[in-house]
Amino acid sequence: MDLNGSQMVIEALRRENVKVVFGYPGGAIMNVYDEVYKQNDFEHILTRHEQAAIHAADGYARASGDVGVAFVTSGPGFTNAVTGLANAYIDSIPMVVISGQVPITMIGTDAFQEIDAVGISRPCVKHNYLVKDAKDLPRILKEAFYIAKSGRPGPVHVDIPKDVTAQVAKFDYPEKITMRTYKPTYKGNSRQIKKVVDAIANSNRPILYVGGGAVNSGASELVREFAKISGIPAVETLMARGVMGDDNPLLMGMVGMHGCYSANMAMSEADLMIALGPRFDDRVTGKLSEFAKHAKVIHVDIDPSSIGKIVDIDYPIVGDLKNVLSDMLPLLKDKIDSKKYQSWRDLLKRYDEIHPLEYSDDKGNIKPQWVIQRVGETLGEKAIISTDVGQHQMWTAQFYPFSRPRQFVTSGGLGTMGFGFPAAIGVKKAKPEKISINISGDGSILMNIQELMTAYESKIPVINIILNNGYLGMVRQWQTFFYDKRYASTDLSGAQPDFVKLAESFGGLGFRVETKEEFDEALKKAVQSDVVCMIDVNVDRLEDVLPMVPAGGTLYNMILEYKG
């Protein structure tokens, strides 16, 4: 079958079973858009900024587990997309992003809207391609999808010059693909797995350190099973929230800078750390020389470069967590008696009782934590929660009762303000039966506010809840703690839009909330409405995220209470 490059793109997407593409057209990618116009295989959502298109594809991928797809044009279209690529790369999210490029004959001439796109995207993606001939396009697109979702997932960028999108060639789409230079390891070494089971059986204070890999691998059920049969308590990273389920008595909560006291103490006092797909981020470990210093470390990861990157690993296992646990659990059942760890569990429970995750509620001011708890009580598992970045993000991670993986969509590694709203748009497209909520702050929400138009036009009823404290709250908190309250460029209270009118001007619904009753009322109306909503909640201005391990501090030495 002979097709031109643009038709090849459409046909490849059809064969990859792509249902939604997010994007923004422009000169160099117009041929592709002309074919988008003619087809009915997938829906195209026009965002109002290329960054938002990538975040929406990212949110779609996180909620569904499928590859997210986005189209952007050359030059500024592509450079706007870079933050989105970097964001997906560091969080290991499968995506294929196709950008237009100036015609091959003009590459290198500093043509209009020309930029070295593959040169820019190289450190922000798992792999990238500049397509020089349409005959290579079927193979490249097949590889792009395969690379994006296999091994440690990640975004793949395909840059297609405009003349290639018009060039006709034979379309021979490979059914299967093998690449001699890329063969991820899925199965764990069985001898090493046996050794690990022995190490676990010989430990007295083991802890499961569950990371985002558990979500990517689809290993959540097995991780829960692991905890259940062994009686070993677990902590979750930000990226793993929901894996254990918050009603699980073995979950000690989130670990790290704003982790629970019991979770951080568990890490500090464990004699064996069983790391299941985390990457030892500095926001988790704190000061490395003090991190889990009594523990031997088991690390299961599909990416060999993750193992031993930050800390020494006593028992490395390269493999897909799901496979490794399937092999490990039968052995574990025979060797481990969950009663053995009773006193360890009791100790951690005591830690949790001494310093539970809590805040002091207030009659006058709405506390931001209350809002999140309230959304959780009201919507629970019916909602998928996206966030932006900052205090509201940490409070959501702490206080929302997540019951399953892929229920929490947040920018973990890159910490991208402006991620939440477009991600929530992608989430709603992936899971239309769920309520898609974006919890944001008055700082972050303005970073992709133009997406109100996308949500309105494409009838995507995302509910934005702004925890409005008139500050860039997280930076303000650091200024309070570490900069002697010099609030440099963080006070936003002097100049804010009217968020209600703003939402309305885009065709959405806006609510201003000053009391708890008003919040309940607004949330109810927002859930019932079929347009995009914005709930502007006036919250306590100076609330801090606690506990806190200062950057470079030790996990067992948390700030539990701020004493001005």
């Binding site: 593959v118 040169g119 190289r122 450190p123 798992k126 792999h127 500049l130 020089k132 690379i147 690449m179 001699r180 230079t181 890329y182 750390m273 490395l288 020389s289 991190f291 889990a292 210093k293 523990a295 031997k296 470390v297 990416d303 060999p304 470069s305 031993g308 990157k309 800390v311 020494d312």
Partner: protein
């Protein structure tokens, strides 16, 4: 958890076999630059009768850094193999241009000692060539200075594991 890594800097020669395709060199040099790894020398050439290229990279770092370099190189999609064997033949080439008005007394003996030859000559100069391991090339280049060379060019190492 213990941190047993020694901070001692180790020199290492890596042979990296990659698909011979556009941009692969920038992926590798970009990886080194972006992650703050050192490149002491780098040579690239096609592997005969295949569609692979071989990069020979001389780098240095502590154990953890070297382990990461190897793993990160592996992680690049076009990388087929990373060879870091301890035993290999390592050779580097140098060309040195010496003016003809110099007194060449002892040059012959020196070239012999370093397995060198005269590669070319012109009206006013000769070009000598040596091929040896990197350390000896360094010594040679020090020694040859007494002939006041006009120009010296080093190739970077190539290596073959044995």
């Amino acid at each position: 958890m213990k941190n047993t890594i020694k901070n001692e800097e180790i020199r290492r020669v890596l042979s990296v076999i990659v698909t011979n395709e556009d941009g692969v060199l920038s992926r590798i040099s970009g990886l080194f630059a972006g992650r703050g790894y050192n490149i002491d020398s780098l040579t690239v050439a096609p592997v005969p009768d295949t569609d692979f290229s071989r990069l020979t990279i001389v780098t240095c770092g502590n154990e953890r850094v070297l382990e990461q370099i190897v793993k990160q190189l592996h992680k690049l999609i076009p990388t087929y193999k990373v060879i870091e064997s301890a035993e290999f033949v390592e050779k580097e080439m140098a060309l040195v241009k010496i003016p003809l008005n110099e007194d060449f007394n002892g040059l012959d003996a020196m070239l012999k000692a370093y397995n060198g030859t005269i590669a070319n000559s012109g009206e006013n100069f000769i070009v000598v060539m040596v091929a040896d391991n990197a350390k000896r090339i360094e010594n040679f280049l020090k020694a040859i200075k007494k002939y006041n060379p006009i120009e010296m060019v080093r190739s970077g190492s190539v290596a073959m594991d044995i």
